[in-house]
Symmetry: C2
Subunit: 220 residues, 2 copies
DNA sequence: TCAGTCGGTGCACACATGTTCACAGGGTAC
DNA sequence: GTACCCTGTGAACATGTGTGCACCGACTGA
């Protein structure tokens, strides 16, 4: 009955299981760089993971369950990113420049995760689509509460902040997707994307001071 | 040798072929409402189209070729939309309201096409991805030349216009995707999306007058 | 009218897939 | 130390898949 209080060797069984579970996730992610989830077969995954097909069921009931686990894993890294952004003291100086830089860096570092999310955001599996949608909404909400702390957004309603955050998240998503789809090892193309992202964010923020003039209700 | 000058019955052969070709395209589009292209099988398509599997090769060499044909078909309707927008005289009065209305109407009318494009824009088949990317770029360019005719954008550089058009297209794409993913038969949810789209476009346009202050080169 | 072209059929094959079942072998609990 | 639990194995199956091939019947062109 004593579950947690044990000698260090006690976790070996679970550790080994966790290990092959991670191997399955990694294998899937690797394969998903070049195909979409709906065309990903259980046998492909187990093949790359170096396990027999039937072993799959020891870890996931479904392929769908594995997909949801991948979404979870992917957004964990995203949350880590925004947490890092919050901790970074420089963000107050050149918000846009640093944000874009941070985003681009993370996209490169975790390109498989980002590519997976981008691909399945409107992919063929409904469960994955919805899960991703929920996570993105949560992400935008997080950003909105962050924005609320900025001086010149003090008096904004939460609705407007959500709107602004949504606009920014859209821009970020588009940027990430553009980077992933850009020809690799082509610095100029990527620099162009980065510059565009900066200008887009700049254009959005330039609209902010004008926004107060209109009420929260739908403008005529 | 006389190809075109013939009795009306002459085209019957080609007409019938074109008919089943269209049946294949329609069948694929129907199936693609609930799955992604990479998981779409040749036999599924022919099955729904009411043709034997091997008949497929009389019309397309590949499934990929069918996919490209679908992209072509989809963007034909999109081009029709922008042409209608140009022809509409009211667009000068309430640009944003009318644009959003037009977009939403078209998305509903051709939801299968839009859904297909949204799904395959970053889907698992590289050829489709690239074709869609090209078409979207063309679409943004078209919009940019349209924007160039507006009075208060007279002195903008083509680069900035492309940037602005890209921003707007992004917003439109996001809106279309949101509508497609919204729960059906839920007017309030859709009204919310429409309102958000309007405000997003409004926020973008509000940034326009401020833009002149920065040069076309990358801002520090 | 007659040979020919061509869209559609039916059969066949090799192969990949999901899932089942009994089984093994070693860490775990007592 | 022993019985048990649990992760991974191997064979087997029904089913779905792409594609080659010979064939047919009707429309076509002269």
């Amino acid at each position: 009955m004593n579950v947690n209080i044990r000698t260090p060797g006690s976790a070996t069984r679970q550790e080994r299981k966790q290990l092959t579970r991670q191997a399955l996730l990694d294998a899937a992610l690797e394969l998903l760089e070049e195909q979409s989830f709906s065309s990903l077969s259980l046998r492909q995954v187990t093949g790359v993971a170096g396990v027999v097909p039937t072993a799959f069921y020891r870890h996931f009931e479904d392929m769908e369950e594995l997909g949801l686990a991948l979404i979870d894993e992917s957004f964990r890294t995203l949350r880590a990113m925004i947490r890092a952004a919050r901790a970074d003291p420089r963000t107050n100086d050149h918000v846009i420049r640093n944000s874009v830089e941070l985003l681009v860096g993370y996209v490169h570092e975790h390109d498989t995760h980002f590519r997976f999310i981008a691909r399945e955001r409107f992919g063929g599996v409904a469960a994955l689509r919805h899960a991703i949608r929920v996570e993105i909404r949560l992400f935008a909400s997080d950003l909105a509460t962050d924005l609320a702390r900025l001086p010149y957004l003090e008096r904004w309603s939460t609705e407007d902040l959500q709107l602004l955050a949504g606009l920014m998240v859209n821009a970020m998503v588009s940027t990430a997707e553009a980077i992933l789809d850009a020809p690799p090892n082509n610095p100029t193309a990527e620099a162009e994307i980065i510059a565009t992202a900066r200008r887009q964010l700049r254009m959005i923020t330039l609209g902010i001071p004008q926004w107060r003039s209109s009420p929260t209700s739908k403008p005529r």
